[in-house]
Symmetry: C2
Subunit: 213 residues, 2 copies
Amino acid sequence: MATPSDGARTVTARAQRADARRSVEAILGAAVACLARDPEASVVEVAAAAGVGRVTLYSHFKTRADLVDAALVRTVERADQILDGTDTTGDPVEALTRLVASSWQIVDQFRNILLAATRELPAERIRSVHDRILRRIQTLIERGQRTGALRTDLPKRWMLTTVFSLIHAAAEDAAAGRVKVDQASGLITATLVAAFTPPGAMVPAVASGGQRL
Amino acid sequence: MATPSDGARTVTARAQRADARRSVEAILGAAVACLARDPEASVVEVAAAAGVGRVTLYSHFKTRADLVDAALVRTVERADQILDGTDTTGDPVEALTRLVASSWQIVDQFRNILLAATRELPAERIRSVHDRILRRIQTLIERGQRTGALRTDLPKRWMLTTVFSLIHAAAEDAAAGRVKVDQASGLITATLVAAFTPPGAMVPAVASGGQRL
DNA sequence: ATTAACCCGTACGCCACTGTACTAGTTGCC
DNA sequence: GGCAACTAGTACAGTGGCGTACGGGTTAAT
């Protein structure tokens, strides 16, 4: 039931005027921006930021939850596009490095939106929206385990958790000024590679030259 | 200013009756329990759980923030006690293993309280309350780095973040049923040890015998 | 040009929570 | 026993968000 993949036009189904589409777009943009700043941003704030009346907003999104959902979908779509442009072939460790570098930026910008979604949307919904993105890293990990580049004594699930958790933590630290933004990606990968490399194996010089941290 | 370390008796300063102390105790217990379950638990819920009138609660804690603060302090004190009973001497890696095992349980139980505090208390206040606990792990890391048991090419700060982040993530996964509670501690340490051991060094068989994960 | 879609602003009802005031009853404490 | 501390309950004011209803103006589309 509900809205199983309706993208933007949440309420009206057809005969939508160019005019309205522009509004929806503005609202969506504002929602993403506002929620990224403050996951508890009210509908009033979003409407104001979109340069639109609160009531108008309600004519496009039946409820606040609807709005958050739309913002989440939009964000995930964007993320997916970015990730699509990231090469995940070749040496698994290097691929992981690249993938982390891309993901890091996304998470850093939009973790608050996920937070808002977590609070106001059913967990199952969020999981389903994130599925494609999760799968990306998971398959990479699996491939790494098959080729022997990554250790196999840890559950895949946990490794996935570790990746996300570290990215997340770095984002938090960056927000608090405890870590410089341009260092973060390097720290994450250095930690992850060490954690995921088979015990006893020599750690390869990661990606872009032998760096110092 | 406000209340710079007043523990329980937030409002009344002296001439407190045994009667009242019992109430405060009940409220505090209820607050911890309720907030651990739901970080947005209302004052009404806490009062009810404590078997006390809402107004009575307010006569002991001026505001909701006061209540949350007290619950946080209480929790941290408990945690500190537990950590006090944990041996942090000897081989740094083994000490880390023990410390993680202890911390894990605490975090798993009380992360919601920290969450509530994060929302309603100034960040600086939280940081100061947590200071003692943080320091514990930090000094251990420093010692490990001096003895060569832990790598030195990662910032201490980041290593600290990593530890907390993984513990936290494990707690989340456990709550969602993605990880069994009795496995968590092992996963965390296995990951941490690999991540923190100097590159190229042989990973020692950790703590309680050569385990399988 | 006319029609329908769209937008705006204001205003209203609803709800949940916080914090306070007051009264009356109960209980620890000397 | 008697005072003071404590408690309960109710009631009220304030705040702030959500969702809806309307009436009048504006703008895209055919």
